[in-house]
Structure formats: C-alpha cells, structure tokens
C-alpha cells in the first residue's frame, strides 16, 4: 500500500448516533500506535465519498438511514472500493444499509448497497435492547464478542454469508437462529454498539490486518479494554447464573 492508511467514518451526519464514530477513531489510533501513517476521514453526506482503505458505518434513525443508503448507492464509491479490497465495518443501521434491503420508518423495503447478501425486515415484537454475548463464528481466532444491541429489525442471511457470531446472551439478528451480524469477504456487519471495537479490540486488529494485506501487528497495551471486557462478560455470567438458580 502506498500513502497513509485511510480510515473513513461514513456519513457521521446521518449515521452518527450511538457513539459508533468511535470505531473509526479506535482503528486510526491502533494503527498510529504501531507507527503507521494514518488518515482519519469524517466523510459527510453532501460530498463524494472519499477513497479509503477501511469504511466504518454506524447506527442512525430511520429517515437518515434511508437517505444514507440512497446516497451511497448513487455515489457508487463504496461498492467499487469493496470490489478493490477495501474493508467495511457496518454497525446497526449501517449493517442494514450494506445489505440488499431494509425497512424504512413505514416498514416499506428500501434498497441497500448490497455488499452483504442479507435482507432486513421490520420486526413484529419489541425492539432488541440490551447486552449481547456472542461466540465468534465468521472470523477465526477472535475471542468472545461483547456489545450492546438496540434495534427493531430482523436480519436474514443469504447463501455465502456467515454470521459474525452465535449469541449466548441477547437477540442478535433475530432471524430465528442465534446468529449475530454477518461476514462476507472483508465486509463485517453487526448490531453491536459499545462501540463494538472498544469492547472487542481483537476485531479491530482483524480489520486492520485485512486492510494491511495481512501485515503482522505488534500487540498493544489493551489493559483498559481487557478490564471492560472482563467486567461486562462477568456481569452477564452472573446474570445467567442467577436466572438458573
């Protein structure tokens, strides 16, 4: 790769709720701390999407979500860059946006960017809100995943798309199985907030390694994240035990 590693936070003006912008910051810092040259771009929706090596999409409300999908489809850069090997981390509304279709506020389906063969429908029941623990499945070598979900959609995975994890606590994709998120190639979708990379630095390093064509990444001081993971996972373990007794 020539030039700096470019990490783009996609449309923070539309997909900016829930602190998911933190994922871009975490990727940039983790690259920087390893001595790499990094550029963190806040890609606002009224300008052409910049060329980047990693794209991060976050959560958002119904109206802005529809607008983000339409703008990304019209712009074309994201789909083209993924063809060229760019890495995508898409969270919540962003996860739905990179699929084939998702529901708007009225429940009507809207066209997504189609980077993942997934389809999201409006859920009938209450929103899935709460802590999630998931055993990793779609990416090898990751430790257990932890995050906080808050969504109303049911996401179905198509052929050739695998779940990011299997939930052991929480709802996840809500498709009847216990899948959480989806992975295809270098595109990762998930419902996990926290933001997801703050709680799962291992996933951050997988995304960085993909963007750096498998370059070896030296370990970082992740004691703060480790402390957070232990506390969150411990809280959920205790909750499960209480429920059993």
């Amino acid at each position: 790769m020539s030039g700096p590693l470019r990490v783009a936070v996609v449309y923070p003006d539309l997909l900016g709720t829930y602190g998911d912008g933190g994922n871009g910051l975490i990727l940039a810092r983790r690259a920087e701390w390893r001595g790499l040259d990094v550029e963190l771009l806040q890609a606002v929706s009224d300008r052409p999407l910049p060329e980047a090596d990693i794209y991060c999409l976050g959560g958002g409300e119904d109206g802005p979500q529809v607008r983000a999908a339409r703008t990304l489809v019209d712009d074309g850069t994201l789909a083209r860059r993924v063809q060229g090997g760019a890495v995508v981390l898409a969270v919540c509304a962003g996860f739905q946006v990179v699929g084939r279709s998702f529901p708007g506020a009225d429940g009507e389906p809207h066209e997504g960017v189609g980077l993942l063969d997934i389809e999201t429908l409006k859920g009938a029941g209450p929103r899935a809100v709460g802590e999630v623990v998931a055993e990793p499945e779609g990416i090898e070598g990751l430790p257990v995943l932890t995050g906080f979900e808050n969504h109303g959609g049911h996401t179905m995975l198509g052929e050739g798309t695998v779940a990011l994890g299997r939930v052991t606590a929480g709802i996840g994709n809500g498709d009847g199985g216990r899948g959480e998120g989806a992975v295809a190639g270098h595109v990762v979708g998930t419902y996990l907030h926290g933001p997801v990379l703050a709680r799962n630095p291992g996933l951050a390093d997988v995304l960085l390694a993909w963007a750096l064509q498998g370059a070896w990444l030296e370990p970082l001081d992740d004691s703060a994240s480790e402390g957070l993971r232990e506390e969150r996972l411990g809280t959920m373990r205790r909750k499960r035990l209480r429920r059993r007794t």
């Binding site: 829930y18 109206g63 529809v66 703060a224």
Partner: protein, 411 residues
Amino acid sequence: MRQQLASAATRAVNAASRRLGRGQGTVAGGRAGLRLDPKLLEHLSAGRQVALVTGTNGKTTTTRLLTVALGATGDEVVSNETGSNMPPGHVAALAGSRATRAVLAVDEVYLPRVLTATAAAAVVLLNLSRDQLDRTNEVRMVAGRWRAALAAAPHTHVVANADDPLVAWGASVARDVHWVGAGLRWQLDAVGCPACEGRIEFGEGGWSCAGCGFARPETEARLVHSAGGMPSGEWADGRTYPVRLALPGRFNQANALMAAVAAEACGVDALIALQAMEQVEEVAGRFTVRPIGEAQARLMLAKNPAGWDELLDLVAGSDAPLVVSINARVADGADPSWLWDVPYERLAGRTVVATGDRYRDLSVRLHYAGVAHTTEADPVQAVVRAADGTGAVVDVIGNYTAFHDLLGAPR
C-alpha cells in the same frame, strides 16, 4: 370527591415518605394519587397559571430560574425542581401547595400529556438532542410529538429556541411562538432537516435547509456577547437588558434569557425577572463547592454529549483536578456508548480520575482520547484521591445517578 381523596393520598404518602427519610417522596406520593384519580394532574392544575419547561438539557436550571422570576412580584410559586419530571412528580408538587403559579420541568417525552393535562399558559422549549437512546426516544420522533401537541394548544405561549432546528420544527405549528436566539453549540443531532431530511447548513446569523427552505425564524429576543463585556438579552423591540448570573457558563445565560421571555409571557416584566435570577447561586446541588470525604468538590451534572460539550468548555482552561463519574443505571440509560460522542480529547494534559459504576467504559474512551488518567471504583475515594491532600477544589462531573450519588454522599 375522588380528586380530594387522591390529592390527600398524595400528600399523605409524601409526608410518610419524608418521615421515613426516603427523599421528598414525590414519586411515590404522586403515583398513589394518580392511581386513585387518573385525572389528578388536570384537577390540580385548574385555577393555576402553569408554565412548563422541557428540552434535553437545562430543564432543572431553567425551572429554578423561572420559578424565582415569577416569584419576583411576591406571588407564591410552586415547582418540581427537586423532584421527578414526570406526572407523578408534577402531581406531588402541586398537591402540596396552594400557589397560584406553577413551574414544572417536564421530561421531553411526557410534554404532550402534561401540556394537555395542565392547559399550560406557557411552554419553554430549550433544545433537543440525543439522550438515553436505548429507550428509543429518537429525537426526531420526540420533535414530531411536540408538534402535534403544540398545534392542539392554541392558548399556550410557546417560548422556543430558534437556534435549534429540531425545536423550531416542533414549535413552528404553534399559534403563538416567542422565538429566542439562545444559541446551539451542539449541532450534530440537527444536521438532517426535520421537515424534508435535506441538509441543514449552519452559518453566521442562523441556519437553513437547502432542500425545503425551512430556516431559523426571526427572533423576539436573542443572547448577545459583546467583546469582553457582560452578556445581554436584546429584544427586537429595542430593549437591552444585562444577563448577570451567579451561575457559571454560557448555557446558563441562554437558560436565563429563555426564562425571562417566558416570565414576560406570564405577566412578569423581563427586566424584573432577570434581576431576580441574579440571586440564584446553585440549582439542586449543582455548581456549589461542598465537602466530599476530606476534600472540597464542585459538583456538575452532564448526562449527554450536548451537556458534556458545554461543561468541558466551562472546565477547559482550569487546572483543577478533575473527577469524571459515569453510571449506566435505569435513569442514565443502560448503554454508555455516548461517551464516544463526547470530545474528551479536550481534557488532554489534565489530572483526571475516572470513577462510577462504568469507569471501565470511561477509561477505554479516555485511553483512545489520549487523556492520562487513573481509575477508582469508589466515587468518594476518587474525589479524595484527585485532591491528593492539596486542598484544591476538585471539579467533579457526573452523569445523572453518578451526580446524585455524590450529592448524597456523607460529608
């Protein structure tokens, strides 16, 4: 009869709960009363002039300021300033008082219900930004509900912040709006036009949507900062009054101007109102220096990114030791992801201690923000450690329950 019974029940539960040392008992008493008479808030509001204050940030302070302002002419004023912002809290406050004027802080989501029940003379709409998203009160939806409620309340004076597009959209259907240029530092929640989902551009004298032309309304009064001088309220009719507060921060000056315009709508001269507000030194424990453990601390409350943005501004430039305390209990919202929307990078170089139930979430955030810090699970110990025996007054910023934990901490 049913109403008198319900009202008496509210008072009885309030008194019992105070005797038992369970705070003001406002919520328990109010709930008991509302169970006996679901229309209790309607009944208790009848014959009073009620003013409501709502918005994501500044409700408690503005309610306090407006209460003092309306009392400036000698009238007794009742308010829920230390109680809950939901109907049980409103009922409890009103049941215990014969005051002819009432000022009620109202949770944003409850505004439509409380507006209908109280037939309020005035409503103050401060601002609207993200807060506790895991409860799914998405801000645009809330603005939409305000809109429907205000359209159905033609006799209410609506005092609205013209600088907040979401507030402006919510208020623009009301028959009688007093637009105030109160400012809006936090613009991230407002970039999508609430009317057409186009993009809102913020510029020098205001904001407008390129898509549909929705734009900042002309104001009746606005907050003006002359270079180096005292902030003042400038009315479109030519009046200029100084906004001179004992409370710190630009956001409190904006709250005071909103309260002054509301006071005028309720029949109290704005100048007299502003002068009365000068005497307010603390609001429900905020901003005053108090002992915590063996240390002295100035407690401040910020519960969402917009509120943090204002407070980080206020503490920037100070080199006082700083404690940040974060909880994620029911009243705070269970997901502290919003920490990543707060520009904690501004604290680089400060001595920071992270505490509260969720100090680990905060610690990760500060780590990536490049802010050196230590962690301490116990909030009182965190304050003591931050003071480090120097006698320095420690700045403490907590979110909702974290702030109240320290406010109630033994001295």
